[in-house]
């Protein structure tokens, strides 16, 4: 509940009372103790939950689950939005809970942490249990094979052979409290990875490039011409596309059909005598569903919310591909997406780049950034702190740049 304070979210009506009224000082103290117990004492319990970063909100969610001291705790992708020291705290917490007798079911697609934390591993694929194993008896490679039905080397397409002319040139772009003096260039035909921890300003940069917010300083050139998008409408018209990090809140209209969602960006141009040309729309939408292999195949009339996370993401991508953009910004495109669909997404984006699109791939998944990009930019506290060649760097080096500790 974003409007309510952290305390209210944590205690959820079970407040300490005095003379029938809520004893706020005691409630905040209780909340602070709760947060401190799990190592998240940096959070002020009086802030409205909605003002916290996504990572902090996640911690509050976890703290909330612990209020009732459960004997069984299911954590569904708890690490998806966490990084760095937050992750370490989460791992310490999970180990501590397990040591004290709580049964923890930890759902994750981060294989390293699964191998590290778990005592028993269940691999689920297509709604069925594909294997039950233990960390000592398996490896990342084997887990990937069990999940995706293919080996690691087959997950990411080969790197693109070369790059074309500069498409999007950004120089000295700043926006107060979000990012500072960002300069980068995207060329036709390349995928540039942008790695940064939650809160580093990556998504804010994407929003700004897309005209959703306005920069305070700096210049953006598209195909050599200076541009300044006053709103997303102008950015879209100029050939930009943005797949946002939060499908539900900014990528889809959940109550509408798959067809309406995919046609959202093109309905104004698919008209005949002022009315939407339903024949053309149907052909365009079915074409996309086939091309991106959105499952199930006859989903055009279904509410988009009934699709799986991965297929929802494909629907978001389809919406943009119908616009035939020249610059594609992907913000955490594989978050909450199953392995098989990820492989599909990497292949689709690779195809697009090979036909001349400039792609900016924003991600907090190190393996993905290094596997799928031709160049890697690292962001820390609103600044681009490094540019690395994915073939000549390591996960540790990228991480070091992202927390400002690079040599």
């Amino acid at each position: 509940m974003p409007e309510l304070s952290v305390t209210e979210n944590l205690l959820l009506g079970d407040f300490p009372r005095r003379a029938g009224l809520i004893d706020w000082p005691a409630a905040h103290r209780q909340a602070r103790e709760l947060l401190a117990r799990i190592g998240f004492d940096a959070i002020d319990p009086r802030t409205p939950a909605g003002r916290l970063t996504v990572a902090r909100q996640q911690m509050v969610e976890i703290a909330k689950a612990l209020v009732s001291e459960p004997t069984v705790l299911i954590l569904d992708e708890p690490s998806a939005v966490l990084a760095g020291s937050d992750l370490d705290r989460l791992y310490a917490l999970v180990r501590d809970l397990a040591a004290r007798g709580t049964l923890v079911i930890y759902v994750s697609h981060r294989l390293a942490e699964v191998l590290d934390l778990a005592t028993s591993i269940v691999v689920v694929k297509d709604g069925k249990v594909a294997a039950v194993t233990e960390p000592d008896r398996t490896s990342e490679d084997e887990l990937i094979r069990l999940m995706a039905g293919r080996r690691l080397e087959q997950i990411y397409p080969d790197r693109r052979p070369g790059r074309g002319a500069a498409r999007l040139e950004v120089s000295g772009l700043s926006r107060a409290g979000e990012f500072r003096e960002v300069s980068l260039t995207l060329h036709a035909g390349e995928i540039v990875g942008l790695f940064g921890l939650v809160g580093s300003g990556r998504s804010e940069l994407a929003q700004c490039l897309f005209g959703a917010t306005q920069p305070a300083e700096g210049e953006v050139r598209l195909d050599g011409r200076p541009v300044r998008f006053r709103d997303p409408k102008r950015a879209v018209a100029a050939g930009m596309a943005l797949v946002t990090e939060d499908r539900k809140r900014t990528g889809l209209v959940p109550g509408m059909s798959v067809r309406d969602n995919i046609a959202l960006t093109t309905m104004h141009t698919t008209t005949r005598a002022g009315l939407i040309d339903t024949g053309r729309r149907r052909r365009a939408v079915t074409g996309m569903i086939e091309r991106l292999r959105i499952q199930p195949p006859h989903c055009a009339g279904m509410p988009v919310a009934t699709l799986s996370g991965g297929n929802q993401q494909k629907a978001v991508l389809a919406k943009w591909l119908l616009r035939e953009p020249t610059v594609l910004i992907l913000d955490e495109p594989t978050r909450g997406v199953d392995m098989a669909t990820r492989v599909d997404l990497y292949r689709i984006v690779d195809d697009l780049a090979r036909t001349g699109l400039a792609v900016l791939l924003i991600s907090s998944d190190l393996t993905e950034v290094l596997g799928a990009s031709d160049r890697v930019l690292v962001m820390n506290q609103g600044r681009i702190t490094g540019e690395l060649d994915p073939d000549r760097t390591t996960e540790d080096e990228v991480l070091a740049y992202s927390i400002g500790q690079a040599a």
Binding site: E61, L75, A212, K248, G251, T265, G309
Partner: protein
């Protein structure tokens, strides 16, 4: 005892499988779920059956013609309201617009040709809608507050224009509201035409689809490169225009324009939308179903009048019936609310 908690981002997301409170048998015809429609047709059928069995006067031509005339005001207001509700907003000012448009038209009839006076009445509604929409879309004010303020402002303006009712003497003034085409009032045909055009607008035009999408998720629509403000303003303008037209027709039907007419009309309009399955959160609702909602509402009103039920009890009964109808209508939801 076992606690099961899933504190995650994903568990709250649309990825989660829809959960149904209960499952009822569904009517599927050619792959389309027509349960809601079937329930609705059944409901209206039962209502009409009750009417036929218990009242000698319901199925007389006089009463039916009367009923069709009574539908017009609620119908026009309900369509305009639907468009606003689809964006996730609400328009509480429509009742006052009805009064203002009526009294201005009646006042102008003495000096201007009747069609021009009527056009001015409708235009005044469009202007009020434009102002409402601009305040909501451009200044980011809450629709409830803006249109509540408009409700009292416009009502005041109607009284400022004329404290006393105005009754034009030219018989041509009554024609719009009372003329018949065979057994069917012309004004009813106008209302049906609005619904017909409105159905096409919402279903087939980029503007209509955008309005529905905005109610579903305005930020997604904005980021898709669509001018959200423009369509929100358009929605309120349509509502204002419909209310203006309703006011002009009402004054013409009654033959006298009163500055006090139309109090609480917005409630019937909202009720009609909701009975027709529209979500007050926006993004869901249709012209066809809203017309059905209008029919249910007007038939209930008419029956209660025929039974001679005291007007206060009418209000009580109408409220209870609306709740009952909405409970039944809820079966059209797949058990999932948009959050």
């Amino acid at each position: 005892m076992t606690d099961q908690l899933t504190p995650t981002a994903e568990s709250k997301s649309v990825d989660a499988a829809p959960r149904r409170a209960y499952r009822m048998p569904r009517l599927m015809i050619r792959g389309r779920d027509l349960t809601a429609e079937a329930v609705f047709v059944g409901l209206v059928g039962i209502l009409l059956l009750v009417a036929a069995l218990t009242s000698d006067t319901f199925f007389t031509q006089t009463n039916l013609t009367n009923l069709l005339k009574q539908m017009v005001t609620t119908g026009l207001l309900a369509f305009g309201m639907l468009v606003v509700i689809l964006t996730g907003g609400i328009d509480l000012s429509v009742g006052s617009v009805v009064a203002f448009a009526g009294i201005v038209t009646a006042g102008l009839v003495s000096g201007l040709p009747i069609p021009v006076a009527m056009a001015v009445g409708v235009a005044s509604g469009i202007l009020f809608g434009l102002i409402n929409g601009t305040l909501v879309a451009r200044f980011g004010l809450a629709p409830f507050v803006v249109t509540l303020a408009a409700l009292t402002t416009i009502r005041g303006l109607a009284f400022v224009y004329s404290e006393v009712p105005i009754a034009p003497e030219d018989p041509a003034f009554f024609r719009l509201g009372s003329a018949l085409l065979g057994p069917i009032p012309v004004s009813t045909l106008i209302m049906l035409a609005v619904f017909l055009a409105g159905g096409v607008f919402l279903g087939r035009t980029p503007a209509g689809r955008s309005i529905i999408a905005i109610g579903g998720n305005a930020e997604t629509v904005r980021l898709a490169g669509i001018n959200v403000r423009r369509y929100v303003i358009l929605a309120y303008t349509i509502s204002g225009g419909c209310a203006g037209l309703a006011g002009v027709i009402l004054a013409s039907r009654v033959g006298i324009a009163q500055p006090s007419v139309g109090v609480a009309f917005e409630l019937d309009a909202i009720a009609a939308c909701v009975i027709g399955g529209a979500s007050l959160a926006g993004g869901r609702g249709s012209a066809k179903a809203t017309l059905g909602g209008v029919l249910v509402l007007v038939v209930i009103n008419n029956l209660l009048n025929l039974y001679g039920v005291q007007s206060f009890w009418q209000q009580v009964l109408k409220g209870l019936i609306i709740i009952a109808v909405i409970l039944v209508q809820r079966t059209r939801l797949p058990g999932r609310t948009l959050t």
